[in-house]
């Protein structure tokens, strides 16, 4: 299998036939840790959905590895409808459905993998708890277990620390960082926080649809430019990030 998992070639981002940003070029390879940074409403989620083939580009091509790419997805937990009485075990098992055909039940092997994923993120003791009764940090860890249980090639995280306290944020990011090397995973994370990006990513996307601004590449090169100042308008933020 080649190391290039997702490639965007001259892609114009948008939805409902409305132009948003572009054309942009980007290639995600196995083992890379990408963080997509930008202000609110900058088009980060649109880029992510385009990369995952959930949203067709207005122009250009999105290609993925010819052997197929499996995604593990950590959405924002607030996006779930809490009327559902699903347990942590049930929600984690949903991540395995990419390996279980429709109409088939989970096998014993699947169940073992689900248990080990819960152990991996240290919430095995919560497996029978209702998902909606968990704290913000616990919910994110349950969603991380769900994302890795399908043995993905790409781990996708949509603002995973948005509703988590500082302690929970650190724990979540450490878990992601520890899980990544195991299967030479590519990580694709949307975040608002520059410190998260600078601390964990090796590649960064900076984007803002308002100014048709898009820059992607190795962290050191992106942070060396004056892009951050352009994007966020805060010089001190840049200094802090460079020092990390």
């Amino acid at each position: 299998m080649s190391s290039r998992l997702i490639e965007l070639r001259d892609v114009t981002l948008g939805y409902d036939k409305r132009w948003l940003l572009g054309p942009v070029n980007l290639a995600v390879e196995r083992g890379q840790f990408w963080v997509i940074l930008g202000p609110n409403g900058s088009g980060k989620t649109t880029l992510l959905k385009t990369m995952l083939n959930l949203l067709p580009p207005l122009a250009g091509r999105v290609t993925s590895d010819k052997n197929g790419v499996t995604f593990g997805y950590v959405p924002q937990s607030k996006g779930f409808d809490h009327i559902f009485p699903v347990s942590v075990y049930e929600i984690t098992s949903m991540g395995r459905y990419c390996r279980v055909p429709m109409g088939k039940r989970l096998s014993k092997e699947d169940k073992k993998i689900i248990e080990s994923s819960l152990e991996r993120v240290d919430i095995i003791h919560l497996k029978n708890r209702a998902f909606r009764s968990l704290s913000g940090g616990e919910k994110q860890r349950a969603l991380l277990a769900r994302a890795i249980v399908g043995e993905p090639d790409v781990l996708v995280l949509d603002e995973p620390t948005a509703f988590v306290d500082i302690k929970g944020e650190g724990r979540m990011m450490e878990l992601v960082k520890n899980i990544q090397p195991d299967n030479n995973l590519a990580v694709l994370m949307v975040s608002h926080f520059l410190d998260v990006a600078s601390g964990f990513a090796d590649h960064i996307v900076l984007m803002d649809k308002e100014n048709n601004f898009f820059q992607a590449g190795e962290k050191s090169k992106v942070l060396e430019s004056n892009s951050l100042d352009k994007l966020f308008g805060v010089e001190q933020v840049m200094d802090r990030a460079r020092n990390e």
């Binding site: 559902f84 009485p85 459905y97 429709m102 109409g103 029978n128």
Partner: protein
């Protein structure tokens, strides 16, 4: 003779309707959990009303003697066709539409409701026929319903047992399902079609009001009582069956309309469930061993 004695002695009067009612209670209780979880209770209201419109339209067309379409205009066939078409329409993806799904469903509900009343006015014996469609007068069921209703319910149960995990997944997290290349439209269409067919068959047998009540109240009660998904489905089926059986019982001994009686029994379960939880007896939801904590 005591009311219970009268009831038991008259079993030949209520046996068949009660079987049909109990089976309807079971399948509607089961499907109602999906309806409540997907927050589409108004869909079931619209479908029952559209199904009623199909029955009323059939009566009307038979009255004007459209002989060429006599097989098509049978109450069952017409109700089924219209309900399935409506379910398919509601299942359509309208992400970027200017009209919300709720708006489309409200349009279906209101149009069907108005049409049932207008057609009722045109049917000979109209008021009685329409009242039985809307509110249920299932004291007597058609002989075929004893086979049709359980047959349709059994098929619906089998489909849902086979695709249980897939229906739950698509209802709970459609974005991940899309990422896993799940056939979301197919599953949604299958889910809504199964609800539509059950609604069409049950509405003709029992009436719109009790079918809507059985699709809604047992599921809401069980969702209130339990934290376990599978237990919610089981409780909802049990409450649906008990609501139908008790509804027939009270209808018989108190001489009240059967559809209304079933509806009130289902409401009673909801109120009892509410009081049970709120009075503190339900501080631990069924199926859990920890205190419930909302975040």
């Amino acid at each position: 003779m005591t009311p219970l004695g009268e009831f038991i002695n008259g079993y030949f009067l209520w046996r068949d309707p009660m079987i049909v009612g109990a089976v309807t209670g079971a399948i509607c209780g089961f499907l109602g959990v999906y309806v409540a979880l997907a927050r589409m209770i108004f869909v079931s209201a619209a479908l029952t009303q559209i199904s009623s419109f199909g029955v009323a339209l059939s009566f009307y067309l038979q009255r004007v003697e459209l002989v060429l379409f006599s097989s098509l205009v049978g109450p069952f066939a017409l109700s089924l066709i219209l309900t399935v078409i409506a379910a398919g329409f509601f299942a359509l993806k309208r992400e970027f539409s200017r009209i919300s799904n709720e708006g489309v469903i409200a349009f279906g509900f209101l149009t069907a409701s108005g049409a049932v009343i207008v057609l009722g006015d045109r049917i000979a014996r109209g008021a009685h026929e329409v009242a039985s469609i809307l509110f249920g007068s299932a004291v007597v069921v058609a002989p075929m319903d004893i086979y049709i209703v359980p047959g349709v319910a059994a098929i619906a149960f089998i489909i849902h047992l086979v695709c249980f995990k897939d229906f739950i997944f698509v209802s709970f997290d459609v974005e991940s399902a899309r990422l896993f290349r799940y056939p979301i439209r197919l599953l949604n269409a299958l889910l809504l079609s199964s609800i539509a067919v059950v609604v069409a068959v049950a509405t003709r047998a029992l009436g719109a009001l009790p079918v809507f009540a059985l699709l809604t109240l047992p599921a809401l009660t069980s969702l209130y009582l339990s934290e376990r998904l599978k237990l919610v489905f089981l409780l909802s089926v049990i409450i649906g069956v008990l609501s139908a059986i008790l509804g027939y019982f009270f209808s018989f001994i108190l001489s009240i309309p059967t559809g209304a009686s079933i509806t009130l029994c289902a409401s009673l379960f909801f109120v009892v469930g509410l009081v049970w939880r709120e009075a503190g007896m339900g501080s631990k939801p069924l199926g859990t061993d920890y205190l419930f904590k909302w975040n």
